[in-house]
């Protein structure tokens, strides 16, 4: 059934990376890729649940949600989006390098990708700190004050809760994927990969891009709502 995929199958007849239960490298590569996509399906629904609940409340309390935009820093949000997009580019280039078997380039791009990933987390940390100073953290001991718009105080609390939940969950994914990249980097350093074996780079790359896509949606949904609204 596994129709021999040109290059991979030819070069990998006796690859040490072929696991015993697969027929050939092409089958193994296809399985790993499909497995990652199915996992991403799960991840989509994971975030989908959060997006769903968020959307319901946003529909219920449009003005309260709009009022929270006063306390978001869209500059940080946009900057972080840009940082992630650069990291996506370097990740894509890393995968490309691994396919071509350019090991030095692969390592370089992996390092760059991780640096941008870390930069995102650092910026996010500054942002969280700002919210803390602003008293806009309804969780963890209730560091919370919304006297600017008392009429929205309760509902804005829900919005901020979703904000921390969604960005926190996203940040958790950032940490996971940085760990993943570290592993890949160590493997690359040890010379595990070649132009005929790059499956782990490829599927970690898919995961990296997915986490960026989540942010692409979080940015407008959390930072850019009601920026034009005049609030009473």
């Amino acid at each position: 059934m596994a129709d021999a995929h040109g290059t991979v199958a030819e070069h990998a007849e006796h690859s040490p990376h072929l696991r015993h239960h697969f027929d050939d490298m092409a089958q193994q590569f296809d399985s790993a890729t499909l497995g990652m996509w199915v996992f991403l399906l799960t991840e989509i629904m994971f975030f989908g649940g959060m997006f769903g609940a968020y959307t319901v409340y946003r529909g219920m309390y449009p003005e309260a949600f709009a009022s929270t935009s006063q306390f978001m820093n869209p500059f940080y949000g946009a900057l972080n989006t840009a940082v992630l997009i650069v990291s996506s580019l370097t990740m894509a280039l890393a995968v490309r390098a691994s396919r071509l078997g350019e090991q030095k380039m692969l390592q370089l791009f992996l390092i760059l990708t991780m640096i941008f990933g870390l930069a995102f987390l650092v910026i996010k940390g500054f942002e969280y700190h700002e919210h803390w100073v602003d008293m806009k953290v309804p969780i963890i001991g209730g560091h919370w004050n919304y006297s600017e718009f008392p009429q929205f105080a309760r509902q804005a609390q829900i919005m901020f809760c979703f904000y921390f939940f969604m960005t926190g969950f996203h940040a958790l994914h950032m940490v996971v994927r940085l760990g993943l990249m570290t592993t890949i980097f160590v493997m690359a350093k040890r010379g595990t990969f070649s132009s005929s074996y790059f499956t782990p780079v490829e599927i970690s790359g898919l995961y990296w891009h997915f986490v960026d896509i989540v942010w692409i949606f979080l940015f407008p949904l959390l930072y850019l709502i009601g920026r034009t609204k005049k609030l009473i």
Binding site: L34, V38, M45, G49, G52, I139, R154, Q157, I158
Partner: protein, 545 residues
Amino acid sequence: MSTVLQDPRAVETPNYLNQEYGWKSWLFTKDHKRIAVLYIISITAMFFIGGIFASLIRVELLTPQGDLVNSDTYNKFFTMHGIVMVFFFLIPSIPATLGNFFVPMMIGAKDLAFPRINLLSWYIYIAGAAFALAAVVLGGVDTGWTFYTPFSSTYSNTFVITAAVGVFIAGFSSILTGLNFIVTVHKMRAPGMTWGRLPLFVWANYATSLIQVLGTPVVAITLALVGLERAFHIGIFDPAIGGDPILFQHMFWFYSHPAVYIMILPGMGVISELVTCYSRKGIFGYPFVAGSSLGIAIIGFLVWGHHMFVTGMSMYASLYFSLLSFLVAVPSAIKVFNWTATMFRGSISFDTPMLYAFGFIGLFTIGGLTGLFLATLGVDVHVTDTYFVVAHFHYVMVGGMVLAYLGGMHYWWPKISGRLYPEGWAKFACLLVFAGFNLTFFPQFILGYLGQPRRYHAYAPEFQVLNVMSTAGASILGLGYIIPLIYFLWSMKYGPKAGNNPWRATGLEWQTSSPPPTFNFEKTPIVTEEAYSYHTQNQKETHGG
């Protein structure tokens, strides 16, 4: 049958059981068959733990007054019964055991696509179960298995977070099993094993896996929100701060309704195998039976609102969910009709697995048709949240799913263990289960229409007779479950050797030795025929084995 009685101490051919010995060889195994056995042991333990809670519930309900235990304890009993049975028995039951063992074999693969992830999913399951059981030991949970807010998030004083963490973790086990199956079915099929030749058990498990992968994350996130709400009192589901408790129900049932299809679909797959094997005939309408599994998996996501007709959900949403709930009944009906038609002009034997299949068809028909009452708007208002729902659910889950599981265990036991179970005892136990089950749950339909609400510790005195009948049935049912446990254990040492194909079945799993070797097949099989080609097999063979 070519069952040869041998001295059990005789030298056995190498197989997955005797390849290696010692606890390490089990706990670190990557063999899907050994992992399936690990799952069988763990879900059996969870089944009996859940069963103990069920018995305590039934004993308490012998009298209308709550006199055996106090209300809090009773509430914990039914909650733990629900959580253990739903999340730790029913959901993993067939996919993680029989599916794990036989899906790779039936498609002619050496293993699942990701053996290490398969083992990981078992450890995750154990971790989830440990949390759930920790919640029991620490003092229990009393929210009901549905964790409805704001009771679970604000008012309950029990170990809600511990139990929710357990369910959350177990969800990942379920997701990973589903992921593994999807990739395996797509990428690991033997040469010639086209989609049109897949055994129906594989189709059913594939459809189940789709639900697991798509639905489970949503309930995980929902329970995470409940935990967050409970820890920090933010207001996501708290009406006092503007939250909507109904939203929790939407999110919960988005998973938990399709979850009942996670439970029943693999059971339907087992029945398709049993009916064909013991009728010695190909399935009637293969594309329809296979397609209806996918149909159920997809439409199953569109019907969850029928749990919420009286919650104050929009009436028009109720209308929508009601209509689609009837639609999902169609593929289920197709399956029942096709199984029945398969028997037409067959050669039907009455081995124990077939008796379970008969039981399944009957009880699932009743369970399915009573589900229509609950999809009908006007009637649901009266019967929802009563014992009618309890009876319906158990007819599908216990009458349907557990019977299919037991049927499948009997059918494949010779392959798993290499031994035959004692046929007489097995038939007796099957009859006990069938009779005990009906006596337990049929009166609950009547109780439900009379209006006895579910989850009641004490009830109105006029309901007592029916409740006593139900409890009496439960004790017969309990006995019916213990007997197979005993004779399965017995047969592992003393059962007669089964031979490779005691039922003369057609699937690839029967064409290798019993128990199978570690990599399932001596050499990769090549498939040249449709599934269930009993006709050609009958002509070719003289004697089975």
